[in-house]
């Protein structure tokens, strides 16, 4: 840090003496094999160049943050005085919702709006929809309306948006869609709705997840093989840039990969590899890097309780992505180099425990601290009842939001940007994580990039193996999880919560959703024009065979003709084939 060689040598001499005179005697006194803690000095950062490695918040390489302060921070105090429920960060993650039929979900959204919810929908789709099956498919048994809302056709989609009119019309609120393999179909539905409402496509706002590559590595809702999936990604990317330029293109997920078991370095390497594949798709399609990369977003990075490491991870991720954009892709617009993510560091759902679940509040606050110290809102995430079942209680969401507020307003966590900048320890750790990720990224690039490293099974298998390694460490008590593999004795109080608190979704609606949805689908098939459906699907099939064709206009015609989601996906299955599940 601009220190002279002479001064550095003095520090190193002093450190050696300290090891001998202070550390060793203490280690011996306690009869342990080695010192259980570390201490960092300027000698750990010998050739550290602050401007090159860190820089200022809002400037390349964005290590210390995308901005001097985030948008939410601008009016945080005013928001507290007015008592406004913030509509960003943690509460927008909390708004991620969807269940039952489109009618159930519409009514839920209207009820939430009556409670003060603002903004557009952040739609969770059920697994049948995510995998391109209609509700009447045998594959959908038990899944309809479970983890999200069931969408079989444009008519279902339109029903959801009955909750978004007037001041909440689709040109005024942002629509988020957590969907990947059939993302192009859902975007086509949004386009069809805009046309029906007379709203120019250019005014549509929102973010589709549209990150199919990580589905092969984690999450598993793929349909077509990776290469064909990337063709559909390209079609959405080009269509979004040319027709719906205000829409974000995707939300690249690191967090899913970590939750599936990846190590921190794997998470970073695989996410960067996937991001590079999406960037290449845009460049190959003839788009300008600055134009489209600034419309990429990231879902969230993070997912462990190791608070220091998660802070370093955020810093390393921002720097890596910025360098990839600038150095490899020649981006010049700073916006194209930023990792834009709604939630930064967090503990991840796999860090929560079913045992003594109230402890998850403490855990989520630690994740929130990591976020607040690494350029994000200090969001306590997830709600403590995450591992108890499927769906959060309103009580847990209130506790989550309040924990976030306590970190912001009482603890002042977000009053300093990148408070660890220049720390000998944090800068060393940031470098370490970046180097480990870079090594794995180089390996993947050597294989031919993310698509190749999915096809040959490398990334999916590595994640499964890392998950198993972690499990073994827990079972061997090398890693500790309080209340799970330690402190489980009879003297511990097994705290739990009375689970009669209000749940978000009506259990009766959830139970009957499948039957009601299948009946609706049968009605649709009776009333629609079979000829129109056949025509639109035939055109789609014809164009799907032409790799150069962009399928979005055809998909819009298909959804307008009331072709079902599965009918559309089946046509593409016929042309593209289906992905093989990954074995062990």
């Amino acid at each position: 840090m601009g220190r002279s060689r002479d001064e550095m040598e003095r520090i190193e001499r002093a450190e050696r003496a300290w090891q001998e005179e202070v550390v060793e005697p203490r280690v011996q006194r306690f009869k342990i094999p080695r010192c259980p803690t570390r201490f960092y000095t300027p000698a750990h950062l010998r050739d550290f160049d602050f401007l090159e490695k860190v820089g200022f918040p809002g400037q390349y390489p964005f290590t210390s943050g995308n901005h001097p302060f985030e948008a939410w921070r601008a009016h945080a105090e005013a928001g507290a005085r007015l008592g406004v429920r913030p509509d960003y960060g943690v509460s927008s993650a909390g708004r991620y919702s969807g269940y039952g039929t489109a009618e159930d979900y519409r009514d839920y959204l209207l009820a939430m709006q009556a409670r003060g919810s603002r903004g557009g929908p952040n739609v969770a789709f059920d697994l049948a929809t995510q995998c391109g099956y209609d509700s009447d498919s045998p594959n959908a048994l038990g899944e309809v309306g479970r983890v999200g809302v069931a969408i079989d056709s444009y008519r279902d989609f339109r029903v959801i948006y009955e909750a978004f009119t007037g001041e909440r019309d689709i040109d005024k609120v942002a629509s988020n869609f957590t969907i990947n393999a059939p993302c192009a179909v859902i975007l086509a539905m949004l386009a069809a709705l805009a046309e029906e409402r007379g709203i120019p496509l250019a005014k549509l706002r929102g973010t589709p997840q549209n990150d199919i590559l990580k589905e092969f590595i984690a999450r598993g809702t793929y349909i077509y093989p990776p290469r064909e999936s990337m063709r559909l990604f390209r079609d959405t990317l080009v269509f979004c840039r040319k027709q719906m330029p205000s829409m974000n293109v995707n939300s690249i997920g690191g967090y899913h990969i970590r939750e599936a078991g990846a190590t921190r370095a794997q998470d970073l390497a695989f996410s960067m590899a996937n991001g590079i594949a999406y960037l290449r798709a845009g460049v190959d399609a003839g788009l300008e890097i600055d134009d489209f990369a600034s419309k990429f977003t990231f879902n969230a990075f993070g997912g462990s309780m190791q608070v220091y490491h998660e802070i370093a991870f955020q810093r390393a991720a921002r720097r890596m992505w910025a360098r990839i954009l600038k150095e490899r892709f020649g981006a010049t617009d700073p916006h194209a180099m930023m990792i834009r993510q709604p939630l930064t560091a967090h503990i991840g759902c796999t860090s929560t425990t079913l045992q003594r679940p109230l402890n998850n509040i403490a855990r989520s606050v630690i994740g929130g601290m990591a976020a607040g110290m690494s350029g994000g809102m200090p969001s306590a995430y997830p709600p403590f009842d995450e591992p108890l079942g499927l769906g959060h209680s309103l009580a847990s969401i209130q506790l989550q939001i309040d924990a976030t507020r306590i970190m912001i307003y009482e603890a002042g966590i977000a009053d300093v940007t990148d408070p660890w900048a220049g720390s000998y320890f944090m800068e060393s750790l940031t470098d370490e994580i970046e180097a480990a990720a870079q090594q794995d990224l180089d390996r993947i690039e050597g294989m031919g990039g993310a698509v190749a490293a999915i096809e040959n099974g490398y990334m999916p298998r590595a994640v499964g193996q890392s998950a198993y390694e972690r499990q073994k460490r827990i079972e061997n008590q090398e890693d500790f999880v309080v209340g799970v593999n330690c402190f489980t004795g009879e003297n511990e109080l097994e705290l739990s919560l009375n689970q009669t608190v209000e749940v978000l979704y009506d259990p009766e609606q959830l139970r009957s959703a499948e039957e009601r949805q299948i009946a609706k689908l049968a009605d649709l098939k009776r009333v629609r024009s079979v000829a129109a459906v056949s025509r639109s699907l035939a055109t789609l099939e014809q164009h799907a065979r032409d790799v150069e064709a962009n399928l979005m206009p055809d998909l819009i015609e298909c959804v307008k003709s009331d072709a079902t989601l599965q009918e559309i996906c089946d046509v593409l299955r016929g042309v593209f084939g289906e992905a093989e599940p990954v074995k062990l």
């Binding site: 045998p138 038990g142 999450r219 598993g220 599936a260 078991g261 108890l388 499964g464 198993y468 062990l584």
Partner: protein, 134 residues
């Protein structure tokens, strides 16, 4: 079951749920514990699971479900196993199973329900004892 044969377990992901961390961890763990493990991969239908269980002559079937579809999918697997005369194969369920549903699964005929935080050794011991007494 011949005593020198390894215990053979089918680890399956029925339904559309793609969260296979648990299934893969259990598969690796049981394999390391000396079991012969067949992992189906994602999206195996109840029909495929029952077919595999019978064809591979497994001693136990483990289903991993985190989507909330556990009651529908498990009862389908059990029903098909019984139809095929293989109702004696013990079926274990793991995943995200709300406390209130555990008894419902047992009433359906599930041998054991295992949720997050269960050590693999516990699952292995459970299978071994069930197969030994079968």
């Amino acid at each position: 079951m011949a005593s020198d044969r390894k215990i053979r377990v089918l680890v399956a992901k029925p339904g559309l749920d793609g969260h296979d961390r648990g299934a893969r961890v259990i598969a690796y763990g049981l394999r390391d514990a000396g079991f012969e493990v067949i992992y189906t991969g994602l999206r195996h239908s109840p029909q495929q699971i029952v077919r595999d269980a019978i064809q591979e002559d497994v001693d136990a079937v483990g289903l991993s479900i985190l989507s909330g579809a556990h009651l529908a999918l498990t009862s389908k697997v059990l029903e098909l196993l019984r139809e095929q005369g293989a109702g004696d194969i013990p079926v274990l369920v793991g995943g995200l199973i709300p406390e209130g549903d555990k008894d419902a699964l047992r009433r359906l005929g599930v041998a054991g329900v295992f949720t997050a935080g269960t050590p693999i050794s516990e699952v292995a011991a459970f299978i071994t004892s069930h197969v030994a007494t079968a």
